[in-house]
């Protein structure tokens, strides 16, 4: 070897190592301190959780002399937050006493043995009865035990531009009764209001979970009788393949993009479509109907970057109808976050005490209002101070009664990607509905490790 060769070899190894390694930090424990990890916004202007938790810390320390709360913020986007958290939960040296967990991954973390069942605490906690039943199941493991206390949720529906609908000759307030009425409205807008996206429906892999949840599942869960889960069979604990409901939902996606009722395909598959829709297109009146989440006004309130206080006069809200208008007539999907206690937490009792402080009626109301959340407590949902805090909040809170939670079991992230790929191939026209559905069935077998049941 020439003298340069070892140097070059070392460079190769260094570069390789850069792509391979990751690490986490360590910390000690103390019986009177409860360590709380939560997601800090990557936007330095946004301090909502920080302000709220600091206030809770003060309240807790005052009510419990001698006890301390240590806040451990993790500043990261969603996907990286999960990764960091999961690394911390692996070891007792790094596990905090209380963590903020997305319901999207809570079941995966339960299966990994990262979390502690809360049933012994919940049984003795009177406030637990105030939580609505669907929300209680959000953090339930496959063993029937509950692993987290939800601190709010979100719902989804149809946002429409009143001016666009008026120009198209559609009377407002508008409420489609089934998929056909929704598509017909979009077709009318396309014909009568050129230059406007008639119906925005998120699709494809670039959109990630927003394609699956706001796009596909809002369709899929509106098929059938509205109670059975069309994605996962709870009794046999298997994922459902080959269903007509799945193909019907894909057909809807195909129709939207084939008839050019949605955004231009290349824009729909742009990774930033979500931001563009709520930041630019909706405020400029460029979208007729948008199937989207309850959190949109977060971006439009004062000081939020895309200030648009007039939205409540310009936009209308309609719930997403079921396929044929069958009962219960409307459909919504919910996610949200929960407070959970790690299995390796040093002070689980104290951690639950802190949850109880955060979840008094007053404190949780304060939190929902601060973060544009949707209440999961019956007493807060009925509280006029909460209902009037923001336009639209009553509409989205009323959807909670007919909402669905995803089957967020360990295979879910992979299933979700497979759904996005199926959507993408019918959106671009690369595959027919039948072909895309059968590709999904194949991928599902791998993703779910063979735990699949075929149901027509």
């Amino acid at each position: 070897m020439r003298p340069t060769a070892p140097l070059l070899t070392a460079t190769v190894l260094l570069l390789a190592a850069g792509t391979l390694t990751a690490c986490g930090g360590g910390s000690g424990g103390d019986a009177n301190t409860v360590k709380v990890s939560y997601k800090q916004s990557t936007d330095n202007m946004s301090k909502v959780p920080d302000t709220y938790l600091t206030a809770m810390k003060k309240q807790f320390e005052k009510a419990n002399p001698g006890k301390k709360v240590e806040l451990v913020p993790i500043k990261a986007p969603d996907a990286e937050y999960y990764t960091k958290l999961q690394q911390m939960l692996r070891s007792p040296r790094t596990a905090p006493d209380l963590v903020y967990e997305d319901t999207f991954l809570v079941n995966s973390d339960i299966t990994s043995g990262y979390l502690r069942p809360l049933d012994p605490y919940l049984d003795k906690w009177a406030d637990w009865d105030q939580f609505i039943d669907t929300a209680k199941t959000a953090a339930k493991g496959q063993d029937g035990k509950t692993y987290g206390v939800p601190d709010g949720t979100d719902t989804r529906g149809l946002w429409y531009d009143k001016a666009v609908l008026k120009k198209a000759g559609i009377a407002t307030p508008w409420q489609p009764k089934n998929w056909n009425e929704l598509l017909d409205a979009a077709r009318t807008i396309k014909k009568k209001v050129p230059g406007v996206i008639p119906l925005n429906l998120y699709t494809g892999k670039a959109g990630g979970e927003q394609s699956t949840m706001q796009g596909f599942e809002m369709l899929l869960y509106g098929t059938g009788d509205g109670t059975a889960d069309p994605l996962y069979d709870t009794s046999s604990r298997k994922w459902i393949a080959g269903s007509k409901a799945f193909r019907d939902s894909l057909s809807f996606v195909e129709t939207v993009y084939k008839e050019k009722l949605g955004p231009d395909v290349s824009d729909a598959l742009d990774p930033n479509i979500g931001t563009t829709v709520r930041g630019e297109l909706l405020p400029k009146g460029k979208v007729g109907i948008d199937l989207d989440g309850s959190w949109l006004p977060q971006d439009w309130i004062k000081g939020a970057g895309h200030e648009w206080p007039e939205w409540s006069r310009k936009l209308g809200l309609a719930h997403m109808p079921t396929q044929n208008g069958q009962a219960p007539g409307k459909v919504s999907m919910s996610g949200g976050w929960t407070w959970a206690v790690p299995a390796k937490a040093a002070n689980p009792d104290l951690a639950f005490d802190f949850i109880r402080t955060m979840q008094t009626k007053e404190n949780s109301r304060r939190w929902y209002i601060a973060n544009s959340g949707i209440a999961v407590r019956k007493d807060v949902a009925a509280d006029p101070a909460y209902v009037k805090a923001q336009p639209g909040i009553k509409f989205f809170t009323d959807l909670v009664s007919s909402t669905h939670y995803r089957p967020a079991y360990p295979a879910y992230p992979k299933v979700s990607t497979a759904i996005q790929e199926a959507m993408e191939s019918v959106t671009t026209g690369d595959a027919s509905v039948d072909k895309a559905a059968s590709t999904y069935d194949d991928q599902l077998k791998t993703a779910a490790d063979g735990k699949v049941v075929t149901r027509p």
């Binding site: 070899t9 190769v12 570069l15 391979l20 390694t21 690490c23 990764t83 892999k205 670039a206 290349s266």
Partner: protein
Amino acid sequence: MLRALPLAPATIVMALFLAGPIAYCVYIAFTDLQLTGQASSSFVGFDNFRTAFHDAAFLNAVKLTLVFTFLSSIVGQNTLGLALAALMKRASKPVRTVTGAVVVTAWVLPEVVAGFLLYAFFRREGTLNAILDWLGLPSQNWLFTLPILAVSFANVWRGTAFSMLVYSAALDEIPAEITEAAEVDGANAWQRLWHVTLPMIRRSIGTNLMLNTLQTLSVFGLIWVMTRGGPSNHSQTLPLFMYEQAFQKSMIGYGTAVALLLLVVGSLFSVVYMRLLRSEP
């Protein structure tokens, strides 16, 4: 023996923080470790590698990685860098300063910032289409129709400065007398380049190609920001595929196995270039 002693701390640190994680990664590549959704992991032998070679998405990623590396590193950054260095040698001082500043700015920009800039350049309402419109040429969504070309161009834009600097240094090393002698002998510019300049900077070409290639193989942020590997995986290179497996689908074991395969690809390139360095003409 005593003279080697001062090296000991560095060696220990290297072993601990470099060799340690690499060895651990090699181990993980042979397990079915997941980030979440699994109670315990187990040793699975070569399963992850077998899965990879039967995975159409993996093979697609390998193909795209090679296309991306060939277009942006070997053809783009390397040739353009040499051309720029040669032109700048003859240019006047102000031209040289301005050109150098512009090219180097592209290089020192953080990858993600460069990604956003080029996203703004290529997107439907972007600068490129505005220019094409102005020229009366048809515009299109480049990130949708030609994603791998768009990201390759982005990498050329970003990485050319490095080659330019390497070649500028190399060209300065060539004694003026040799070029002059060739000129006197009647060699034209092309012949001077082919018979004098290139052979004399051969070693620099090798080193530059290798460093460029390795850097290009691991490009992630640029592509992630511009296309997220889409549409329909048409720009999903190996690092993006690896990220998707490890962190979006939580399959750390499989993702690490893919990382090792990427390492193999990098080593193959390096071996080729090292041979290029070694053989005398």
